[in-house]
């Protein structure tokens, strides 16, 4: 029981101070028959036994770094400098609490301010919050925010929105009786424009979209604004912001995104990092934690959590959202990695990732029966195979190659997409990986 400092002698002495005889005297409010249940669980284990147990699980997985790897669709494998992991493991960051006591939390607060500034700049927006759970929940929160601003009850989603994101929006919106529409999920199509009407609170558009296409946000924004609807831009690959026109520069109202790919590992899906940026005028409608600059009693610059009257612990049933946690440590990882790269370094990483994807597309296009569908893409694109892509992915996995994400995984049971394979590359993709993929794919189709 290496985590429990009390000795038996301590316990006896403390019980005496408290004035009870046994520990269970302190649990007297618990119904007798429910106290001290017989748990069908093993007893405590030493550290190396736990290590063995968990390592055995870890070894049963094929890590992305174990071979050629091309999966994306909202989670990307970029290189994270060792400095990032070192800093987020500093006791003072790792084991700190939410910075409600700003006098002794300036470390956390200042990096949150730096994070917000970085996210605002990258998205081309005026303000950003201190992070959300992940990209998908940030998207749902954006829809709710648009609802609060426009007081309308209809959400329109582009067909290229990541289906998981779309489902999360739907789950949250339908709960409160709103209408949620999505254009068909088909590579290249842009039917969303026709769905915008005067009841639309917001249009949600992802770019690069889930198939990898780069979307014209400006056109959509024009149309939406004309109808009084807001535009929520979704970015699932934060690195793309290093090379693409920012959503903010194209006039959108809210930008949400998944920040995992800067500073954070794949982690089988979590913890991730929701990015949330908006226009200054809407800040009081924004969900999530915000860090702001102020001064202390001695006039020195300092940072605090602010506008908390939007939040549940003050506002209770009138809060902008029920959220009370951000992804602090993931935001720190983002900030440190982003600070090491700067805008210039991010652009370099983005360029290398784009080039890797271009090379991969070139190699696959040369295969008979494989069709690259994208006219544009950043680091991810879609190919149509002559057969079911899930089967191909499974068969390549047996050769140690993670070939990408098959359509059947994202849209189960939908015929139009089952032969599609979505393929991502990053600066870590090596020429030898591309060769291995191409040759295995050639053999498989």
């Amino acid at each position: 029981m290496r985590y429990l400092p009390l000795t038996d002698a301590d316990r006896q002495a403390m019980l005496a101070t408290v004035g009870v005889e046994t520990i269970d005297d302190l649990f007297s409010d618990v119904p007798k028959d429910a106290l001290n249940p017989d748990l069908k669980l093993p007893d405590h284990k030493g550290e190396f036994e736990v290590e063995r147990h968990l390592s055995a699980y870890a070894k049963k997985n094929h890590a992305a770094g174990d071979g050629p790897f091309f999966a994306g669709c909202g989670a990307y494998r970029h290189h994270v400098p060792a400095t990032v992991d070192h800093i987020i493991q500093r006791s003072e960051f790792l084991t700190a609490y939410t910075p409600y006591q700003p006098e002794i939390a300036q470390g956390t607060l200042q990096y949150l301010f730096e994070f917000q500034s970085q996210v605002a700049e990258l998205t081309g927006m005026e303000v950003a919050n201190a992070s959300m759970y992940d990209g998908s929940t940030a998207t749902a929160e954006a829809a709710l925010m648009a609802r609060r601003i426009t007081k309308r009850n209809k959400v329109v989603m582009a067909g290229g929105l990541h289906p998981h994101y779309a489902e999360v929006v739907r789950t949250n919106e339908e709960l409160i009786g709103d209408t949620v529409l999505q254009a068909p999920a088909t590579p290249g199509a842009g039917a969303v424009l026709d769905m915008i009407d005067d009841e639309t609170s917001c249009v949600i558009v992802q770019s690069p979209d889930v198939f990898g296409f780069l979307r014209d946000l400006e056109g959509i924004t024009e149309k939406a604004h004309a109808r009084g609807a807001l535009v929520v831009a979704v970015v699932t690959e934060a690195v793309s912001l290093g090379l693409l026109k920012s959503p903010g520069s194209q006039g959108v109202d809210i930008v949400v995104g998944e920040g995992q790919s800067i500073g954070n590992a794949l982690n089988f899906g979590g913890p991730y990092l929701g990015l949330f940026a908006a226009r200054q005028k809407h800040i009081r409608h924004m969900p999530g934690r915000l860090c702001g600059e102020t001064v202390d009693a001695d006039g020195r610059r300092g940072f605090v959590l602010t506008l908390s009257t939007r939040e549940q612990h003050i506002r209770r049933d009138k809060a902008t959202s029920n959220i009370c946690t951000n992804s602090g440590l993931c935001a720190l990882a983002f900030t440190v990695h982003m600070s090491l790269m700067g805008g210039k370094g991010l652009r370099e990483v983005a360029t290398l990732s784009h080039e890797s994807a271009c090379k991969t597309a070139d190699a696959l296009e040369a295969i008979d029966g494989v069709e690259v569908l994208n006219d544009t893409f950043f680091n991810e694109f879609t190919v149509r195979l002559p057969k079911n892509a899930s089967q191909v992915v499974d068969s390549l996995a047996e050769q140690g190659i993670i070939a990408g994400v098959p359509g059947g995984r994202l849209w189960p049971g939908r015929e139009e997409t089952e032969n599609l394979l979505i393929i991502a590359a990053t600066e870590l993709t090596q020429d030898s990986d591309i060769k291995a993929l191409a040759s295995a794919l050639r053999a498989a189709v």
């Binding site: 997985n61 989670a75 002794i104 470390g107 999360v168 409160i176 805008g343 995984r409 994202l410």
Partner: protein, 492 residues
């Protein structure tokens, strides 16, 4: 030592990364390529290290001292857990990796599910909620789905929430389309059972009760409450933020609860990380289990499967509440913690956390006023009655604790006690640490009573910052760095 902002120290010329030269492949960006890099400065590596290390030194953390925060369970975070979460088999695994290549990860999630179900006495658990409040949302969504399934969604819209509840409870209820009705408390700090019964009716969807409650007390009538709400056709949501007090000692499933979230970052020691990421798996009763969200991990023979659509046992699922399958990194840490403690250790966790809180309660009661009489669970509540006429308020007292080397306790919560001070020491504090803490607080209390107001009024004096102007921050929100003058940009 003052630490400038990245934007004041960094450079637009050098960086802390070196990358291979691009090969100059033809771009496929169409017209979406940006002409310039984002206007963000960089640090070289030595500058970054020093910047963030210096920043870190302005923080207080559990590795430095006690964090006596009620309702927040700031316990020791074992480094074994960090090590395990970083094994490439977990950290470098893609959420959409083929099922066959992720069997170890799925098996781990499945084992964690078993632990959570057994520890809570519940038949099912939803793993995807990303934090405590998200877990609440999950539970209330399941309740809503159950009501919809019964065709009662138009009528069952009211949720009963005690006055002393966490703010997330009412906020969550509203986010699920319910209205909130406040439940009054008794004089001994618990839900008023009779008053609750009086509020029950056909329109009540659920009660949301924290147990142990936010006054640090166990709801004695919990079974009667559960029975009453069930009889009225509603559900019992239990806020699990305070599960640490009873882990291994009592199980919500044995007490009539229908849904409860579990903060892995509280009870199961995954680090708070300055405010996140959390993880909030939600256990569900038989009545709610069919509505659990997808994705979910199930075992079929020797194979673990990830259910990603509404099918089979999950045909009635209320849907997906997050992309992918939850906080894997936190799952690894939590299971590592559970295996380390085992059933015997977890029971001791509950016991020692309650013992520590009661020890602090009794020692501090020498000078301070207990919120409610009698023993407490894992947190001790005090009111500000004892500060009456001293000219020192709860906030002043708490800020003075900073100068003594401690993080303040939770203040002004729960709202049912005047100037509340809520202290949760957790089981990972030694007796010596508690004595140091109590001695220090008793000393401060005596000073307050002795009229040494100067020590409190402008405290803290010995922190990186004195009290910050929160009003200014809210009135003139400055949420990001802005280039101070045009001239500075010419440098780029």
């Amino acid at each position: 030592l003052e630490v400038p902002l990245l934007f004041e120290e960094g450079s637009y010329e050098k960086a802390g990364v070196d990358l291979p030269q691009p090969s100059g492949t033809k771009s496929r960006l169409g017209d979406q390529g940006a002409e310039h890099a984002p206007h963000l400065p960089a640090f070289t590596e030595p500058q970054a290290m020093r910047h963030f290390v210096r920043l870190s030194q302005k923080n207080y953390a559990i590795d430095m001292g006690i964090f006596p925060l009620g309702s927040c369970t700031m316990k020791h975070n074992p480094r074994l857990n960090e090590k395990m979460a970083r094994l490439p088999g977990f950290a470098d695994l893609h959420p959409l990796a083929p099922e066959k290549t992720a069997q170890g990860a799925l098996a781990l999630i499945h084992e964690l599910q078993d632990w959570l179900c057994e520890l809570t006495g519940m038949p099912a658990v939803a793993m995807s909620p990303k934090a405590g409040a998200h877990g609440e949302l999950c539970g209330m969504m399941a309740i809503r789905a159950a009501i919809v399934a019964k065709g009662e969604e138009k009528t069952r819209t009211r949720v009963l929430v005690p006055e002393s509840a966490h703010g997330t409870n009412p906020a969550t209820a509203v986010q699920c389309g319910f209205t909130v009705d406040k439940l009054p408390g008794t004089e001994d700090g618990r839900v008023d059972l009779e008053a609750m019964k009086a509020k029950l009716g056909d329109d009540v969807a659920a009660i949301m009760v924290t147990n142990p409650n936010t006054c640090g007390l166990f709801e004695r009538d919990i079974r009667a409450m559960a029975d009453a709400v069930h009889e009225a056709g509603g559900y019992f949501y239990c806020d699990g933020a305070n599960f640490n007090a009873i882990v291994g000692k009592a199980r919500p499933g044995d007490l009539g609860v229908d849904a409860m979230h579990i903060n892995l970052h509280k009870t199961f020691s995954t680090p708070h990380g300055g405010g996140g990421p959390g993880s909030g798996p939600t256990v569900l009763s038989d009545a709610l289990a069919p509505f659990a969200p997808i994705p979910a991990v199930v075992k079929e023979g020797e194979t673990f499967r990830l259910i990603e659509q509404e099918e089979g046992d999950f045909a009635d699922s209320f849907g997906r509440m997050v992309a992918f399958h939850g906080q894997m990194g936190m799952f690894v840490r939590a299971l590592s913690y559970m295996l380390s403690h085992g059933a015997d250790g977890l029971r001791k966790v509950g016991e020692d956390s309650v013992l520590n809180a009661n020890y602090v309660r009794v020692r501090l009661a020498e000078e301070m006023t207990q919120g409610y009489p009698g023993p407490c669970m894992h947190e001790a509540l005090f009111s500000d009655k004892w500060l009456k006429d001293t000219g020192v308020g709860t906030l002043d007292f708490a800020k003075a604790m900073i100068d003594e080397g401690f993080h303040p306790m939770t203040m002004y919560f729960p709202l049912v006690v005047s100037g509340a001070m809520l202290i949760e020491p957790t089981e990972t504090e030694s007796k010596a640490s508690l004595d140091e803490f109590c001695d220090s607080l008793l000393g401060l209390a005596k000073a307050a009573k002795a009229g040494e107001t100067e020590r409190f009024k402008n405290a803290p004096y010995f922190a990186p910052r004195s009290r910050l102007d929160e009003t200014k921050a809210a009135r003139q929100p400055k949420l990001r760095w802005v280039e101070p003058e045009e001239g500075a940009m010419a440098a780029e």
